[in-house]
Assembly symmetry: C2
Homo-oligomer: 521 residues x 2
Amino acid sequence: MHPVLINGQWISAKSSGAFTATNPQTGETLPGEYPISNWDDCDRALTAATAAYQEMLKIGREPVAKFLGLYADKIEGQKQELAAMANLETGLPVAPRLHDVELPRTIGQLRQASAAASSQSWTLPTIDTANNIRSLHASIGPVFSIGPNNFPFAYNGVAGGDFAAAIAAGNPVIAKAHPAHPSTSRMLAELAHAAAGEVGLPTGAVQMVYRTSHEDGLRMIADPRIMATGFTGSRHAGLAIKRASDEAGKPAYLEMSSVNPVVILPGAIAERSTDIVGEFCTSCLMAAGQFCTNPGFVVLIAGETTEAFVKAVAQKFSDSPSGTLLTSGVRAALGQSVKTLIDSGAVLVAGGSADQGPRVAFENTVLRVSGSKFLKSAETYQTEMFGAASLFVVAKDLEEVTQIMTHLEGNLTGTIYLAKDGSDDAAYTKVATKLRQKVGRLLNNKMPTGVAVSAAMNHGGPFPATGHAGFTAVGFPATIRRFSMLQSFDGVREDLLPDALRDQNPDGQLWRFIDGNWTQK
Amino acid sequence: MHPVLINGQWISAKSSGAFTATNPQTGETLPGEYPISNWDDCDRALTAATAAYQEMLKIGREPVAKFLGLYADKIEGQKQELAAMANLETGLPVAPRLHDVELPRTIGQLRQASAAASSQSWTLPTIDTANNIRSLHASIGPVFSIGPNNFPFAYNGVAGGDFAAAIAAGNPVIAKAHPAHPSTSRMLAELAHAAAGEVGLPTGAVQMVYRTSHEDGLRMIADPRIMATGFTGSRHAGLAIKRASDEAGKPAYLEMSSVNPVVILPGAIAERSTDIVGEFCTSCLMAAGQFCTNPGFVVLIAGETTEAFVKAVAQKFSDSPSGTLLTSGVRAALGQSVKTLIDSGAVLVAGGSADQGPRVAFENTVLRVSGSKFLKSAETYQTEMFGAASLFVVAKDLEEVTQIMTHLEGNLTGTIYLAKDGSDDAAYTKVATKLRQKVGRLLNNKMPTGVAVSAAMNHGGPFPATGHAGFTAVGFPATIRRFSMLQSFDGVREDLLPDALRDQNPDGQLWRFIDGNWTQK
């Protein structure tokens, strides 16, 4: 049985059971057993994190910044081994996906987090000289970080965006590995552990368990020693986490579900239907559609060109090989979602069934429904199909499209394709005004998959896409502020202030908001 | 029966009952009846707010900025009448409190909100030119604003900080008047209505009902047409609002309760006991202690000077006349809190009983308890006494003080008095490290009452003081961002972007975060 990482040591878990991982490409069980930690493990990790936090308040930000940089270097040094293991456990291709896209992004995120931790740019230091009141965002305390199945690196609980952000703020992190890729998580945690040791982070700063019971997981979230939770995963699990956090009065940053509506206006189809078919199919089929920003909901206006468009997509979906899904659970959930939509009245245009054979797969799937039907059961028709599947909603006119927009739930992204010659501009404004309020990121003329790690990114959006409309899970420095508290200092003696709030700029480069203006002075 | 303000008109309420206000200085019922609106009123207001929001998205920020400025002017023009009415309804003194302190603050807040709405400074426009991704904070939709009993102007649902912030972001507001000062709220709403009409705000932009059933209030909060709620008031009501908001997946900004711990270190007492006695009594007795930042919890280290300190405070409390409380409900709750503390083992040092006679009042009250007793029932001993009352916790040594800090709940403020000669510095660091994590604002050598409307203010703090540790209810521009959503624009054509995100700075003055630097270019 693999040990867990608690308080700076790989130790035997106090476990209530064990689990194994599966190679979804072959259906075979992979070697190695991993513990389902019981509350003793959780409790020890919580106690160690609490002690670590007190230490982290003392040692300041430089060890944290160094840790993040060194960890990134170590991951870079093991890219091949990591990509190979993640491929075994997830079925995602080594190249380009794991080795050339996701690992560089993960390494880049850790480096951006390191730079932000060092510069303190995320703290928004604010000084009111007339009142001698000063404020900044500061660390909040131990964070519980729970990653999803679909990004073994970039969203991993012990290496991904939430981890990087929470640590960069100066918080200890207790990570929960995703049970679909335990050894990928173990390899990452080993590198993190080594890096933490080399820079002298407190022993409880980076910890990892593989799995707990649902009950213990929720108990962790509600425990007074946890100050915030970061989660990426299913809506069902996210809502349970939200309830536990809400009840305890603490924040949970949840990325739960999104169908990512794509509206294709008539001028755009008339102008470049073939291009858009290609872009859509690439986006929706990539990695078997297992992206939170997968374009799973397409809105079109009825007409001949739209019929041709749907037909062309269906053809491409049928002609393309199905991708490997992460787990048999993903396959079962996808089948269930497809069934829910069909039972409600959506019509199958392509695919619709699980593949036969040991490989975990599902046919590329297109469903369609009329705008009027959608409006009668709007909630059901927004059931997420996590996989290479999309629902086409064919509205009778632009007015119906705007009504559909009004009935959308919150989403991570919303996309509008419009003609380049300006002929869709009036329609665009009508649609965008409604869609803008429902999504975190609005795109024009490009598909929503691909999330740049940018200061201007919003990978978040109104509930139920995420837990709060004002925060993003991707992009520094904003993502760090999720795991912070706002601290104001009123009449505090200058030498007792954090260095970012003293009269002298700590390094002559930190941007501070002083008396209504941003300055590096 | 007074009419309610719905959809731009003062109309007869659809009501399920009526209530009256009381003059707490005399115990007499004031003239005028006010409706308890039923769901029909709520529903009409929600529909009007929804329509108004669509209009507000179109008309942009200038009418909102003008409205806030004009509203401030109108309040300034009626200061005397407003102060007189608020005095009748709340018992708070006309001068200096209402006329010279709270009204100027209210007017100043509205003007700061107006300036922020106009400048868009609160939106944090962020541009990543390499990726052509741009983001800002934008309005979120209709906001429900519920004010408290203790600030008839500065936190009024239709004129206070939450109102100003929510409108400044471009959101319609439905306000609930506090039933203890309905005509003060009516006068404010009349001025708001006039100002909104003059600048041409949509009719549903500013609405007010006096009161609803608890059930309808919670139904409002959960209604899909409300996007966020602002609330200041009791913990009990706040938690009910939090549950309703959480369940519906939307933010509630709650200011609920706070005992505002004040730690007085030995060197400070030795150095200037008389001064600190004076500062404490002024702060705790002002306005009968009815401030959310009232110093209700004082931590001292046992010793002769501490005994003298407690004795001097008790003497001053006994010698000072009791203030008038806002309502008989406040008096009853204060009596209950005092009883809870005494039943748990706290000892009465001064006061402790309600005053006799028609005036609503309660004796100035000091209780004390040992540090070791506190540590055995820490939660009970943090029961808020809303009024001129404070619990003195006498610890046996510095170590016990830091333990007490560890057991504190979240608070709006925390204060440390330390010697000016440096003799408390080592002790300060031990205490401040713990206290800092429990409070939104940390003060040195000054009492926590008095909340400057400053960009660096945090009038907020960890739960259960407020609903989220990262937001403040006071201070522009941060307070406005509570009522916003983060909007990212990915590849959106430049002329379809909000003006704050176009290449050209809209007015050459807006601070924007472009490629990692703040600039006005």
